[in-house]
């Protein structure tokens, strides 16, 4: 490096025209000389009068070799800035995901169809009460706003349905083990992926949540989560790793992990927990309290229950979640209570 950019007083003595013209400092001096540089070269030339002719020729050469700004650069800069602003606004307000109809034109997301697909593990990872989480890796982020779900096809062909008010970040490497970072709630359909060079070697699929990981290898799924996390398995087999403890899950199992590592393991109808991806809520077995929590998480609205029911009534039914008005009206009918919207809160009377 030093031989390329020698200190002037040492080596300029032996410089040819080309040497000068290839010297960064020399070029700098010719192209846009600062007073200090001008002074420096004037002094140097005074001390080396026999180099004057070489320097003059090099200087003329450097002046001749001139590049202009591309004439359209200015217009391009203006046009592209508008595009950049639009793109950035989109990633802030909406997830950078094409509408489902465009992205996956023939997929209906009926659970039954999903479950029939071979080689697929489906699981619902429901993450509740997540502390602020910093995502450290991955170039692609999908985010959903309140009241919005998003269907995402991952680079390996796996599918994710991201529920409202959630965020999924992808790793930038999809050629080996796969990784995503989740905050909120998502439904995963993970494809098997094997190493092309060694088919016995399966690539892991890992869902990182705020403080623990879910590992899926082929048809096996491992979920781990501190704080309060709910995992419901629809199909396949998964394993939850909570610290050193492993819990095998079967389809229909629901495991809830609270902050104190307390585990609740029960059997449920998994469709109740994944119905939101089909834009409905299945109310079977849900209490009014649970509905209130869902409304808060999905739409970002505070929910106030005015009069608690004397006893939890077993409710069955399916309500559409496409828009809040329809949902509230349907819930009013099913629960036989009034669901009233008051600005950013819901009153249940």
């Amino acid at each position: 490096m030093n031989e390329n950019r020698p200190t002037p007083d040492m080596n300029y003595e032996n410089y040819s025209v080309e040497d000068f013209a290839a010297d960064k400092d020399f070029v700098q001096w010719v192209k846009n000389s600062s007073p200090q540089q001008a002074q420096h070269w004037a002094t140097w030339l005074n001390d080396h009068p026999h180099k004057r002719q070489v320097v003059e020729e090099a200087r003329a050469l450097v002046q001749e070799i001139d590049f202009n700004m591309a004439p359209e650069a200015h217009a391009m800069a203006q046009d592209v800035w508008e595009r950049i602003k639009a793109s950035n606004a989109q990633t802030v307000d909406r997830p950078p995901v094409p509408a489902p109809a465009r992205e996956l034109p023939r997929r209906t997301y009926s659970s039954v169809r999903w479950l029939r697909r071979a080689g697929i593990v489906s699981a619902l990872v429901l993450v509740i009460a997540i502390p602020a989480y910093i995502f450290l890796h991955g170039p692609v982020v999908y985010e959903t706003q309140y009241g919005e779900t998003s269907q995402i096809e991952l680079p390996d062909g796996s599918l994710v349905v991201l529920n409202a008010n959630s965020r999924l970040e992808l790793s930038d490497d999809w050629d080996s083990d796969r990784e995503v970072w989740l905050r909120g709630e998502a439904y995963f359909e993970v494809r098997k992926k094997t190493n092309p060079a060694d088919v016995s070697r399966r690539y892991k699929f890992t869902v990182h949540t705020s403080s623990l990981d879910v590992n899926v290898v082929g048809t096996e799924f491992t979920v781990s989560q501190r704080d309060k996390t709910t995992v419901v398995l629809n199909e396949g087999r998964i394993e939850l790793a909570v610290d050193d403890q492993y819990i095998a899950m079967k389809p229909g199992d629901k495991v809830e992990v609270s902050g104190s590592k307390e585990l609740r393991h029960e059997t449920v109808n998994p469709k109740v927990y994944s119905a939101w991806k089909d834009h409905v809520w299945i109310l079977d077995g849900l209490t009014l309290e649970e509905i209130a929590v869902r409304i808060r998480e999905t739409y970002g609205l505070q929910v106030e229950i005015k009069n608690q029911p004397l006893a939890d009534v077993e409710i069955t039914g399916v309500v559409p979640t496409n828009n809040l008005e329809t949902l509230l009206s349907a819930l009013s009918t099913v629960f036989d209570r009034k669901f009233i919207r008051r600005r950013d809160r819901i009153l249940i009377e």
């Binding site: 450097v62 001749e64 004439p71 592209v80 950049i84 170039p139």
Partner: protein, 200 residues
């Protein structure tokens, strides 16, 4: 005029990473035109260069929280833009299944020639005062042309040019030296030119 005009690159970059949109816009305004000029210099396809610059700035915006520090923003942007342009060209050449891949041909110093064939030439990016010299610059092997462009016009350091072009500093220096020899010969053979014939 701008609050960042007298800030160092490191300060501006930190502000941008901290979520300051004015810093982001300042970075764009300071470097965009040079980036477009440079992009057009390596591939004469306006749409492609626009897309790459767009993607680059959207990428840094989305990932600003996790980007590393830098005290050489221009270098970072030039290097990133070049990588993106090459990636797109490689993809295009794969998609087209050309026997003579653009990416390969690049390494044989034919990138500009190859892309000239498929893309509209929209701009003359190097215009020397001397027309003969201008032609000589245009006819330089792309790598020599790019290196001398980065030194003379973009005013980057040798270390930065080497990193941008994935070459050693010595190689960059040799490319520039060779280019200058060629151009000097071209100038010297111009009879109207005032330069004395002088050899050490």
């Amino acid at each position: 005029m701008n609050i960042y005009s007298s800030s160092t690159d490191r300060e501006i970059w930190r502000a941008f990473k901290g979520g300051d949109d004015h810093a982001y816009e300042f970075i764009y305004n300071r470097h965009a035109r040079e980036l477009f000029s440079y992009g057009l210099h390596i591939v004469r396809n306006r749409q492609l260069v626009e897309d790459c610059v767009h993607d680059l700035f959207v990428y840094v915006f989305q990932h600003r929280a996790t980007l590393g520090d830098t005290n050489a923003i221009k270098y970072y942007l030039f290097k990133s833009l070049r990588r993106r342009v090459i990636e797109v060209l490689e993809k295009q050449s794969k998609a087209a299944q050309e026997s003579r891949a653009v990416a390969d041909s690049y390494h044989h110093d034919e990138l500009a020639t190859a892309s000239q064939e498929v893309n509209m030439i929209e701009a003359e990016t190097s215009i020397a005062k001397n027309r003969r010299l201008a032609e000589a610059i245009e006819n330089l092997p792309p790598r020599q042309k790019e290196a001398i462009y980065l030194l003379y016009f973009s005013k980057l350091e040798y270390e930065e040019i080497a990193a941008i072009m994935s070459l050693s500093i010595r190689t960059v220096y040799n490319q520039i030296h060779t280019a200058i020899q060629t151009l000097r010969r071209e100038l010297g053979s111009t009879e109207t030119h005032r330069l004395p014939i002088f050899l050490e």
